[in-house]
């Protein structure tokens, strides 16, 4: 088995909206090693959620390829796609709207098993559901409960159990803890870590919360307006961010401690719209290091240090903001 599970090459996803062409994902190339977690960070409109959904085939890509275990998933026929679904699943952000309010816990977790005809009879189905509930820490007495009777943390566990039902290799986690309270968030994050350790899942962890991403990821990619602007090992990215956007993002996170305050980088202006984006570097409008070339030519994602990729014209001259 090769070391790379997911290989995304020049993936593009555009949407036609009334005001023009929305560049949700614009030429993204990434690899995700088997058994590891790739954290994907960015703010609203950067395309990270769309990217996750395109990878597992929930949304059809406009262009590019997604290689899963060496095979191009974008070219799968219906049969292969059904099989692919068993290997690649997704956990959604909102535990309130991602569960059918009219189905009980056991019905919700049985759904993927029933649809994909994984179990031969009812006993097998019930046994598998019980096993999954135990795996994610849901008490067996909750089998007949409905989502609205449970809190956000338990609902999210249902979502996780559902994603694990088909025993996938790859799981996209789209902001899985953003809607949860702090303490429940910790419980669910620990659960995800335990599962990965015991079962060897590969995760794509999408979030806007940098601290959480830092906690769970092996590698991190930063997205801005549909493009990846920086990608590196977890420790490298947070200790020595090179892209001005990454630097601003990290400096914007409030610190829960007293003491000398760090110098904050405050970005001017708003996050621009991904519809008809500007020419050249997408971040140029808000970048304090902006040069002439930045507004004319889009920088490529280049490897500036071992496993550290940056898309910026000014990398060589940058000094990290302390």
């Amino acid at each position: 088995m090769s070391e790379t599970l997911i290989d995304i090459r020049h993936l593009i996803k555009f949407f036609n909206v009334s005001s023009g062409l929305l560049h949700a994902v614009d030429d993204v190339s990434l690899t995700i090693p088997r058994g590891k977690t790739l954290g994907l960070v960015g703010e609203s409109g950067c395309g990270k959620s769309t990217l996750g959904r395109v990878i597992i085939g929930l949304i059809k890509e406009t262009g590019g390829e997604v290689f899963f275990n060496g095979e191009d998933a974008t070219k799968f026929n219906a049969e292969k796609r059904a099989e692919f679904r068993r290997h690649a699943q997704i956990v959604f952000q909102d535990p309130f709207s991602s569960l059918n309010p009219r189905m009980s816990v056991s019905q919700l977790i049985s759904e993927p098993l029933i649809i994909n005809k994984t179990c031969k009879n009812k006993q097998e189905l019930d046994a598998k559901v019980a096993e999954l509930m135990d795996l994610v820490g849901l008490a067996s007495r909750l089998t007949t409960s409905f989502p609205h009777e449970l809190d956000g943390g338990r609902r999210q566990r249902i979502g996780i159990a559902r994603a694990l039902a088909l025993n996938p290799e790859f799981i996209v986690l789209d902001e899985p803890v953003s809607a949860l309270d702090v303490c429940i968030q910790a419980q669910v994050l620990n659960l995800l870590a335990d599962l990965r350790e015991s079962r060897g899942y590969t995760y794509l962890f999408i979030s806007h919360n940098l601290s959480v991403v830092r906690y769970v990821s092996d590698e991190v990619a930063v997205m801005y307006l549909g493009k990846v602007v920086e990608k590196a090992d977890n420790s490298t990215l947070f200790k020595e961010p090179l892209h001005p956007y990454t630097q601003a993002l990290l400096s914007a996170v409030p610190i829960a401690s007293v003491g000398p305050k760090k110098q904050r980088i405050i970005l001017e202006g708003d996050v621009p719209s991904p519809v008809n984006p500007p020419q050249g570097c997408r971040f140029a409008g808000r970048c304090m290091y902006r040069q002439e070339i930045c507004t004319q030519q889009t920088p490529d994602l280049v490897e500036v240090a071992p496993n550290h990729f940056v898309a910026c014209h000014c990398t060589g001259h940058l000094v990290r903001h302390a």
């Binding site: 703010e43 609203s44 820490g137 849901l138 008490a139 809190d151 943390g153 338990r154 309270d181 702090v182 303490c183 429940i184 968030q185 910790a186 419980q187 994050l189 620990n190 659960l191 870590a193 806007h208 919360n209 940098l210 601290s211 959480v212 830092r214 906690y215 977890n234 420790s235 947070f238 601003a248 993002l249 990290l250 400096s251 914007a252 996170v253 409030p254 610190i255 829960a256 401690s257 007293v258 305050k261 904050r264 405050i266 970005l267 708003d270 996050v271």
Partner: protein, 341 residues
């Protein structure tokens, strides 16, 4: 709580409950809290802890029924808000006390221009009319960084961050003595959040307004507030100034909170310390200390009798029989992180 400080807001023994189909929800229980003039207080707690209900009670905006203030006083400038006449309450709301809500899209009127929304306020509270009102509106917008040309735009034409700025402008327009901000930046992107927090801090200092900032984010509190109050299950469990609380938290729940949140500085590869279990059912609060079922430091007396807030260090109050000391260690880290069932 000493008397020689200039207290703007004094909440005494406030209790609020909601009468619902599934029982009586005790949202706020015997809350005592003070806010000094010109200072800012961070009000921290998870969902359901009672923070928003307390804030709404100050403005007498709790929906009654099913809500009901069952006891206590809320003294604003020495006057009990509960005993005010309707006219006095209307002057209070928006005039002396403004509120900033979490979602700027739903707290702005979609069919009024931003200028109109500010002039409406100043006409009501400052008695400015016509051109004078308009000037004030433009001045406020400029204060929050919105160009005068955009005064006649509608809320949907602004982005999330800018809408929140408009909300801040409206809140400050009548020179309130107190601003209550309920999770003002939760719905915003982190870089925008940084902008808005800077703005709030700057304005609060320049206009000398007191602020009650409700949030679940300990980072935001550290950056913007002078004092902190931690709420759990409708009770105030710890209250202190920023430095005291962040360097020596004394309530186990506070310690648990700090340890449950990953930060950019926590060591990589460490496991998050989890507070086991779930917050209590507000219709059926536990006997004794409401945190005791989940507290790793709990002793038998904790399950029997609640403690009540007491001053264990100068200006540092805790509702705990056994407040933490540096020698207590950190029992949350010792546990293997038991999951909820």
């Amino acid at each position: 709580m000493s008397e020689n400080k200039d207290i703007l807001l004094d909440i005494r023994d406030l209790s609020v409950q909601f009468n619902t189909d599934s029982g009586v929800v005790k949202a706020v229980n015997h809350l005592n809290m003070q806010l000094e003039r010109g200072k800012s207080l961070g009000f921290v707690g998870e969902t359901g802890a009672g923070k928003t209900t307390t804030a709404l009670s100050i403005l007498q905006l709790v929906q009654t029924p099913p809500g009901e203030i069952t006891g206590g006083e809320i003294l604003f400038n020495g006057q009990d808000v509960r005993k005010m006449t309707e006219a006095e309450k209307r002057r209070l709301r928006g005039g002396d006390v403004s509120m900033i809500f979490q979602d700027p899209m739903t707290s702005l009127n979609p069919i009024m221009t931003v200028e109109e929304q500010i002039t409406e306020m100043v006409q009501l509270h400052l008695n400015l009319k016509g051109e004078a009102a308009r000037q004030r509106a433009i001045e406020m917008l400029r204060l929050v960084g919105i160009r005068p040309e955009r005064a006649k735009d509608f809320p949907h034409q602004f982005s999330g961050g800018m809408r929140q700025r408009v909300v801040i402008a409206i809140a400050l327009a009548c020179r309130p003595q107190l601003i209550i901000a309920d999770e003002p930046t939760t719905a915003l992107d982190v870089t925008i959040q940084a902008q808005v927090l800077e703005l709030i801090k700057k304005l609060q200092q320049s206009e000398k307004t007191s602020m009650l900032l409700i949030t679940h984010d300990l980072g935001i509190v550290a950056e913007t507030c002078d004092t902190v109050a931690i709420m759990y299950a409708g009770h105030l469990v710890e209250y202190a100034d920023i430095t005291s609380l962040y360097t020596t938290p004394k309530h186990p729940y506070t310690q648990g909170l700090f340890n449950a949140v990953p930060t950019l500085e926590s060591p990589l590869g460490s496991r998050l310390a989890v507070i086991p279990g779930l917050p209590p059912d507000p219709t059926n609060l536990p006997k004794g200390c409401s945190f005791s079922p989940r507290c790793p430091y709990a002793q038998p007396i904790c399950h029997e009798k609640a403690c009540g807030m007491r001053e264990v260090a100068p200006g540092h109050f805790v509702d705990c029989h056994f407040p933490l000391t540096p020698e207590s260690g950190n029992k949350f880290l010792e546990r293997p992180g038991k999951e909820a069932e």
